[in-house]
Symmetry: C2
Subunit: 388 residues, 2 copies
């Protein structure tokens, strides 16, 4: 077991209709001007943006707005936001959307509160010393950015997708109305469920000899809950109870609770980030397409973890040999992904990288890993196995 720091200051306000509280929550922050940040037209079409503006108006909070954030959010848009913040004297960022919008808001927060090029923080050249406060109204259960310290941004100049993790950017509040996620396309819902599973699995699979028993129990309960409710939503997308379970699981999966006492591996995310940088795939679907190939390549680095996953999470009866138990655990997860129409290979994901493209992704991929620290050859082998 490793020592850990756990810091999740985000005030969660969870329940149907809670977006009406946004004005009051922002006013508590004693800010002068808010930037409302959002993505495409869905928050406009649904009337959510109007309800939020009405709530801010009622609270006497003034604001400007910037929409147009895309999935795998772009540095360009964040830089547009940084300039707007400086021009308008914005001192609070209200992200209305999913992880992409919240991540973009965090990037704006870093850029507006620090001198110099914000991309430096994502390249690891410098560490931010401040961040404008961010609040979130969540509309997609997936990334967990509403409670996390993480922000992933894509620099389209070179297709670099990079993360900046810093506690300064943890949202001060997160409004979570599960009803807002009901209109998501099924593919987005399922991709979100994969992302939530993977945020837990990236922490669950590691080589720390003695893991936290309580953390394991929490993680296993979370994964079983996500799978059960993802299956419900596949058949019944308007099921509010299942929407609620998935939404709360999304936050707990990535606010660090599921990592206390262990250490993260994060290779699946790193491998997928390069796929996302090159092909602009949906993040969760990309994770589903690559995970099993990673797992089969590395499981001998922590066999007891993969056996525990197979038996406690996937419900596999242990076999005589670990290799058999582990393989049936991996297959059971693949089977779950197929049930919710998620891909288990790049071919199923709809991308077909050439050998040169695989080498490029493998070279750009940030090294690391706890179960196994991946070499360039490892990364090439995993991408190749995942082509399908």
């Amino acid at each position: 077991m490793k020592e850990f720091t756990y810091y999740t200051p985000t005030k969660v306000v969870f329940g149907v209709g809670t977006e009406a509280q946004v004005g009051a929550l922002v006013r508590e922050q004693h800010c002068k001007k808010v930037l409302i940040h959002y993505g495409g037209g869905s928050v406009q079409r649904s009337g959510l943006l109007d309800r939020i503006k009405a709530s801010l108006d009622a609270a006497g909070v003034s604001y400007v707005e910037l929409g147009g954030v895309v999935p795998n959010p772009h540095l360009d848009k964040a830089q547009e936001g940084i300039a707007l913040c400086r021009q308008e004297g914005v001192d609070f960022l209200l992200a209305v959307g999913g992880g992409s919008v919240i991540d973009s808001a965090k990037c704006i927060g870093y850029g507006a509160a620090n001198e110099g090029d914000v991309w430096d923080f994502y390249e690891g050249k410098r560490t931010p010393t401040a961040c404008l406060p961010v609040g979130a109204v969540l509309t997609i259960a997936a990334a967990g950015s509403e409670m996390s310290n993480s922000s992933v941004i894509t620099n389209t100049d070179g297709g670099w997708k990079r993360d900046c993790s810093n506690d300064l950017s943890r949202p001060v509040f997160a409004v979570m109305d599960p009803e807002l996620t009901m209109t998501l396309p099924d593919y987005q819902t399922a991709s979100g469920c994969v992302d939530i599973m993977m945020h837990t699995m990236e922490r669950y699979f590691n080589s720390v000899p003695e893991n936290m028993e309580l953390t394991d129990g929490i993680s296993e309960a979370l994964m079983r809950t996500v799978m059960a409710n993802a299956r419900i939503l596949h058949a019944d997308p308007k099921n509010l109870k299942a929407r609620s379970e998935i939404m709360w699981a999304g936050s707990l999966a990535h606010n660090d609770l599921t990592g206390c006492g262990g250490e993260g591996d994060w290779c699946t995310h790193r491998l997928e980030h390069e796929m996302g940088g090159m092909f602009d795939v949906t993040h969760g679907a990309g994770l589903a397409a690559i995970w099993a190939s990673w797992a089969r390549h590395v499981w001998t680095g922590a066999p007891q973890r993969f056996v525990q996953f197979a038996t406690r999470v996937m419900g596999v009866e242990p076999g005589a040999a670990d290799a058999d138990t582990v393989e049936r655990g991996i297959q059971a997860l693949e089977q779950f992904y197929r049930e919710i129409d998620m891909p288990t290979s790049m071919a199923e994901l709809g991308i077909a990288p050439t050998e040169d493209q695989i080498r490029t992704m493998a070279e750009k991929c940030i090294p690391g890993g706890s179960v196994k620290s991946l070499t360039l050859e490892d990364r090439i082998a995993i991408y190749t196995a995942a082509r399908g």
Copy 2:
């Protein structure tokens, strides 16, 4: 399922030796003078107090100190602390101890930051509008006060034991070194484990028709972990891994995570508070002595919850009738309590209230309850059944 707010801003720093970080953690708070608050001589004898002072000295933080907090902490001591804070210009409270010390520090924090009699807040006459920031170095895993918004104080003038719950008092940091709990007497360790179980069970048992599936899974994992590790510590009190599991469980049991989406019952705590107010018993042991009598009296108010507890937490095979399954679940918990030398009746606890004393406790006990809202007659019946 109910809507909920979840707010746990406490920065947890967990691991062996983390008390050496106290100076740096306090300095981050930009305070001028610290009050070090503690209980009896154990923190002095163990050298912990000296190590903490050395850490504060190294960080250039000035401080005064106030020891002598007793279990079921007294209002008198907190008032002494409030006067000291005003006299010395204290603006940060560092609690070094268990729940009693942290609760006392919170009371000082309320008193020093608000005008008037601090007892008003515990009697519910007024609501605090501010609280001096509190940090904790935890030495007992039990109360969960290191992350909670709760503070329980006893006014010896009349034997009133009352709670004030307010997010203003959630500690800004909690240093948790499981090694510090190794020297606890076995009785204190076991009482702490009961308290941790009960903080989860008070939330788990309720009459909300549709509970949170994820919250249930987390709570059940937590309770199973606590029982397994309490048994380990009963045989092997120096087991660091078990100490770690219990310590982290203590915080998660009472930081509200285990209540998200449900509603608390809290009758067992209320009933025990009156026992503690009259007889000054150890809180956890008092909870163990009264819970089963409460459970047998009220279970028909939420039979499915008691069946779920019996089967998922206590490992009972479901019987043909709920009454049978529930009873065997209750007996299994009593058996666990006996295994760790905890009482299951007031006689085993070492107290023998008269009928008049039972009536007095029942009358003073704050009403309420989710599984069943207890009448005076209910409370008398439960106390009487628990006499043993």
